[in-house]
Subunit: 169 residues, 4 copies
């Protein structure tokens, strides 16, 4: 039986992402791109939002599961025909996008539309993960990174709104 | 242009629910029913969780929209054939359940399964709202009350887990 | 009590969309834009897919409800503060996007990402509906049109794949 | 590169379910329980609906992925701490329920509420799968079976409605 507190699980999550070459900063850069047109923001704010998203239990579970499935597939421990669908990131497979919803859903509909946008217009670290395909299995984790960035952007939008609480607009 | 801060919007939401005969306590009673088998809980804890769910922007928007659609339908301001589908709470209409997802989704999958359960096994205030049909339009608000209760139960389950942070089980 | 068969409901849906200046062809043009890079397609195929999506019960309910809410809001029959949130298409309102999910969800994850993309990059008739704001309430229907186009694009992608059933790629 | 047509994928899916002791008939029995109160139905109709759900691409992907993750976990090929979360079917893990949504979502909101109900009131083969825990990893597949049953029940409700197309009630 394994016992971890949430802080330990967060540390493990950050370390495993970094071991795959995915820094919090690289995710924060996508958040910056998504939100730069909607007001003054700094990279520090974006990093903070990414950290806040990664501290949620749902996010931790989704990130660790995505990394585990990608790795098990790469090492040949997932049965056919699913292994090929994952390895080739087949367009109609769709299970990777569904897994991402567990993160995106908790931040409301802005998270959702940002996620859809990133899935079509791959930028920054998402593009890099996509280009590793063939050598490495990144099918689940590239969508999850998009989901974390989309959720962080949504969180930033909500918190900026909170800065002017006297208005609902 | 209307300007409200979140605290004001929360107050309006609670008052409008009470004006429809839906007290926070009646929602908390459903939460108690849902969670009583999973550990020591008090009605005060349940009320607190309902309040926390009702303070979220997504919940406020969903509750106020549901009340507004039910009222507009009752007063004859919604066009046919949608008006009849809403008034008769037609089983395949489904838009009322979709609206509830905006609340349920933000609390992860426990919220979802509790919501599905309540939709089939109507209890307490949900049953009462269901029985008012014919005299009053409660099609949207009865699902929304189920969603708030399901979300509050999910929040309670997560927070109890947080009480023993040394374990992930 | 109102009785309609599905064919009648479909006809009503198409007529109401056209009465708002939204032709099936204008939705099909968005489908064409979304899918043109993924293979040989014709406008006729796109129109067919839009029709197929509009014949589904979930779509009919969502379209008719969206049109009814927009109209009730425009005519002053929705209470404040929701009326202002809808009229101004407030960025954090989010209920319009949730309603669209009832269409998008039934076509799997490609539908979802296309919908997210269209919500950010408004094109064609969606852009036109967005520009009518101020004079007309189009808050719900512009998202619903995006959802129908996204679903039709997803359907087209699935059906083209079906054309080469010997391959899962 | 693996190539299968949809018919082959369906056959593989049915065989793999049976190899785990899950017959189509055992899933159909749950459908029968869910729908028996809503009108005359036969077991044959329920089996037909289960088959129709299992022929959808989204269902095939979800079933095969669930079986593959359960097996990889059982054989020790999934990393910690995710392996323990899956093996112990930890209440707050939630990724298994999310995967089920890829099936449930495509059948509208009745599917969703039936799924939530089955997740709380485990019946028939779902209960049996739940009881195998400890000896076998069935964490993902027991939710997926619930999702298939919920979707088939939803399909049945929609098709019965289609039998009286002159009424929307």
């Amino acid at each position: 039986m394994y016992t971890y507190d949430m802080e330990e699980l967060y540390q493990i999550t950050v370390e495993r992402l970094e071991a795959r070459g995915i820094s919090l900063r690289s995710i924060a850069e996508i958040v910056f791109e998504l939100q730069r047109d909607y007001g003054e923001i700094t990279m520090d704010q974006c990093v903070e939002q990414v950290q806040a998203v990664l501290k949620k239990r749902e996010t931790i579970h989704a990130v660790l599961t995505a990394l585990a499935i990608d790795r098990a597939t790469q090492e040949g421990h997932i049965e056919e025909p699913v292994a090929s669908m994952i390895r080739e990131d087949q367009g109609l497979y769709g299970i990777d996008e569904i897994l991402s919803l567990s993160i995106v859903n908790i931040y409301g509909s802005i998270g959702l539309t940002n996620f859809g946008f990133l899935d079509k217009e791959k930028v920054g670290i998402i593009k890099e993960l996509d280009e590793r395909k063939g050598r490495e299995v990144t099918t689940f984790i590239d969508d999850i990174v998009g989901a974390v960035a989309a959720a962080a952007a949504s969180r930033l939008a909500h918190s900026n709104d909170g800065a002017n609480p006297q208005s609902i607009q």
